[in-house]
Symmetry: C2
């Protein structure tokens, strides 16, 4: 139930409607997920979200030729057609999804949920979508992550000083430590930005 992909899809649909094929590139380009998610994950995820009422398929008329309701298609065929974009000039058959109210609720609760483990991937996904969080939830998320990283940093620094390790293993430890330090700087910057913004709304509250 803690699927990273669900958060990503719902997050993209918060902004505007999407069809499955498009979601793959958007996840990479807008949410900074390094690898392309496979279609074998995306389509089942969309169907599941639809079954749960978090998204719904919609009819779009974005194509130039608007060939809807030409009448001759009967029963099953017609309804399937209706769920897809008009196959007019310049557009292929596609199924466009829109997020529902229920989906929006689900999304914000998933995004803030402290139960879902914070590996670096889910954390950076959450931050990429952080504009949908309240300031206090953003701060909570950042501080939670910060605590974890401080602990990790100590472990990696200890490893990098372990003289039983060969130079390569120590180098990996030292590099990992630097990576964690970089993460911490980033988080601290984000946290101070959050605090400055909060002051904007309560400037005299010294």
């Amino acid at each position: 139930m803690f699927r990273m992909l669900d958060i990503a899809i719902l997050g993209l649909l918060m902004e505007r409607d999407h069809h499955g094929y498009e979601i793959r590139t958007q996840v990479r380009d807008r949410l900074a997920v390094s690898a392309n998610i496979s279609f074998g994950s995306i389509y089942p995820a969309l169907n599941r979200l639809e079954r749960h009422g978090h998204v719904e398929a919609v009819i779009t008329n974005e194509a130039r030729g608007n060939a809807l309701s030409t009448g001759s298609l009967s029963g099953e065929r017609a309804s399937l057609r209706a769920l897809r974009a008009t196959p007019g000039i310049g557009r292929r058959s596609r199924k466009v999804y829109r997020i529902t109210d229920r989906g929006r609720e689900e999304f914000v609760s998933l995004l803030a949920d402290p139960a879902t483990l914070d590996d670096s991937r889910t954390f950076s996904l959450r931050i990429a979508l952080a504009k949908y969080l309240t300031p206090s939830r953003r701060v909570a998320l950042l501080e939670r992550r910060r605590t974890d990283l401080v602990e990790r940093l100590a472990e990696m620094l200890a490893g990098s000083r372990n003289e039983q390790l060969d130079t390569y293993a120590r180098s990996v430890m030292a590099h990992a430590a630097k990576g964690v330090e970089l993460d911490l700087e980033w988080i601290d910057n984000l946290l101070s930005t959050e605090r400055n913004n909060q002051q904007t709304f309560a400037p005299e509250a010294k």
Copy 2:
């Protein structure tokens, strides 16, 4: 067949014998793998490696009290006991594994194999074990990774300049780019070290 855990286990066994319980902490402390691997992965992996002849269970006498061959245990029971460490004072019942010649061959080929994808985790695992690679294979591994990262860096920099993204999403992109830059510095340092070491063996070859 390209299991990261197999490389990790075989790599640890290259140094000395280990039992399963111990491998978990060693993977973390010596190979810089951030999360603790679960026992539900380790024990099946060891059994599989044993079936394939890459490791073998050995009898160790590291305990003080050497209570082997007390005679009264019969058949099945006795042979099972023989595979475990002597349950003397100060030692628990454990199954200690040793890498075989076949396992050593498998290990070095897995470690250098360019077919197994290089995400950052498998890459840093390989580097942590890089002392078992020939200098030329080390350089090849580093350069292969370098190429991938240069490409990734361009993508992340492009994302961080994308003005359609909100500040949070752009911040994630910019931070990811910094992380890749740090990785590249590290790799370039390792590469120059490799070249200096090679010069040591051919100093006049200007």
